[in-house]
Subunit: 219 residues, 4 copies
DNA sequence: CATGAATGAGGCTTCATTCAT
DNA sequence: CATGAATGAAGCCTCATTCAT
């Protein structure tokens, strides 16, 4: 209909073989996060990546394999990387730092989709889930477990099974990430929209861990 | 054609027509919970309900409308019903009771699907989410908020914004329900499989709420 | 563009579950025969059968499975059926009858495609080929072998390995069927278009089998 | 950039550019022969030829044009060349020589693909078929026709229309070449695998041609 | 010249929805 | 009412063809 102005340097596409896979993966994690595996359309991933449908197949064998690579190349490294950032200070400081580092990480737009991805899609792929657990979860569990054990030993924390505390901490963190994005977070949770929700989380977790006098909660 | 009560060649038995919609809704919540909205197939819902695909359309206009009715007729009432069961005792007892009642409720097979539905599918339908919030969440928030306010007032709990405590409690509860289900709970969380996980939850929550100073034990 | 006259009894389709599979198979054998498995389009098979694309999948799991059923339900029975028609007379008469019966069979329009199907597609499916061999080829070999052995024993035919004569007879028959249809038969063979090509075939085969005086061909 | 003869780091060796089209044609006839026109992938032809996909388009306008050139530049000359080799001896000797020369020719690996190409793909391209007929078939028909006419005239052969004998001879020859190849020859034909199948063919053809009456041996 | 990255039309397949029975 | 056969839009994937490098 409209004559696009044709310049001699108006190529329809460019050769970017080095960047393509990453472009596609980044587009994929976004779209998968929003719609899930079944609901994500390759067409949309391609558009987001600025390529055509067929191009995806130059780098990934299938939609499922693309999802697998998203987990392998983006999810797992991103999670694994977080663990390195938690250092220094006493146990409570480290817990706080752990929470804030993760929160900051997940505040980046589009990352809440990751949580949904992990919660709802990963269980369908046992091998992926196992890989994810080994490479990402186990490490963070180790980091958190160390902090908790140290805190308990030093009396900074009350006596608590590290594995239990870990699951509570992660439950709180992940769910609030999920609630923090998307349409109407406050609708599904009870949370009033607050930018500093992470303060509440830190506060709640540290209170739950602090040592106690004659506890009535031991019942 | 139909002389249902007497004829010896009568096929097994037949449900009253009025029950059809409910059969379908029950099948739908199960299948939606397992596969999500996009992944659920009407064929499978029909099979679960013991009817044919076409029959669904006699009672529901479309797949989406069916999902809406699932939320309206099953999810909301089921959640709303729970709130009535929490009564009596001091604030800590009531919190514990709240947690245990909900946990027991969600331990029924198939109910973890509800949680996934609410956490991951509902946000896509703002109007449904609002309805769900008004009819189900708001009530439970009210119940919990009352308990918390009373506990804080009586000194049983530390000073904490009820709305914050509510979101923490629900985050922990819902996530553990999700993890307690079928495919590899312990793989994606850090949780060792334990039947008494609810004890850990109660313990953690009450510790988080108890007063700060060397407790001069309320009550 | 054109308003089709809508009568109250102008249904867009009719329920014909009994006939559908056969309609589709008949359309499929035609289209497969013309284009091969890869070249055949389900769209065209559907059109030939007077149904929509989706309908094919109500009765056949996939394009390949459709092809398999064509072989199983149409090709093999059609070939097998032929063998029953060869009876009576001396050996030469029976050979002639065998040739003419098969020729008549393959003269039906569309059947030359069968030959191409068997020659070019069947080898790709070893299990199908084995089935076809057992159910169709082996029987016809048996029939032909019997005739030949009897002819040799009675002195009606010269001494010849039945298995050799069989392959010669089939080679001649199949190739001429292939040449007998399609665009320009006489172009690829040397054959002038003649309705009574089968007479030439009968003549040639019987001459090749007839007993001989001091043979110079025995070298 | 290119100093091909001297440099020690010169990659292996390189074909002269003039050979490229031939490389591609040779690869193409192989792949076309195995998979047919529709089933053949340019990617595979390129790989076989040791070039890239794009290179094919430097020499051939399209896949179909490539097939046309295969017929024009390889099939036709190869067939035409065969005719020159049949000389000397009496008619029967020449027929035998014709059969053995062709058989030897087609025994070269990959050449059975030619037969399939001619029998099953060529008919789809009437102009190609006509060209093939004029350039290859007509010549061989002429050669064979001459032999046959001479044989009939000398009494060495029985009275038979040359054109008929030609089609029988070619039918037998081509089909057995097809069956002699790779996937389950003995399954689709009745032929036991035998290295000396050509002896059977020669024997059968000569018997079919020999004079009828108690032979007073010509020559 | 040669490459191979990129494209996009076209085919197979699924499944929500419709409708004759 | 209920059925399930039939439809067809839409999505995944392939591969002949184009074109920047």
């Amino acid at each position: 209909m409209s004559e696009p102005e044709i310049h001699p340097h108006d190529p329809r596409w460019r050769r970017l073989p080095e960047e393509r896979p990453r472009q596609i993966l980044l587009a994929a994690i976004e779209v998968f996060g929003e719609y899930g595996i079944a609901g994500a359309k390759l067409e949309e991933i391609a558009t987001h990546a600025g390529v055509s449908k067929g191009t995806i197949y130059l780098y990934f064998q299938s939609k499922e394999e693309l999802f697998r690579e998203v987990v392998r190349q983006l999810l797992v490294p991103a999670i694994a990387e977080l663990e390195r950032e938690v250092t220094g200070g006493n146990a409570a400081d480290q817990i706080e730092r752990y929470l804030r580092v993760h929160w900051a990480r997940f505040e980046r737009p589009g990352t809440a989709g990751w949580v949904r991805l992990v919660l709802t899609e990963l269980p369908k792929y046992p091998d992926l889930a196992a890989f994810y657990f080994d490479e990402a979860i186990a490490k963070s569990n180790h980091v958190l477990g160390d902090i908790l054990r140290r805190g308990v030993a030093s009396g900074e924390f009350r006596t608590i099974e590290p594995v239990v505390a870990i699951s509570m901490i992660k439950a709180i963190l992940l769910t609030h990430v999920l609630w923090s994005e998307a349409p109407m977070p406050e609708t599904l949770s009870a949370v009033r929209p607050r930018a500093d929700r992470i303060d509440d989380i830190v506060d709640f977790v540290l209170h739950a861990l602090r040592p106690c006098a004659p506890s009535h909660a031991a019942l």
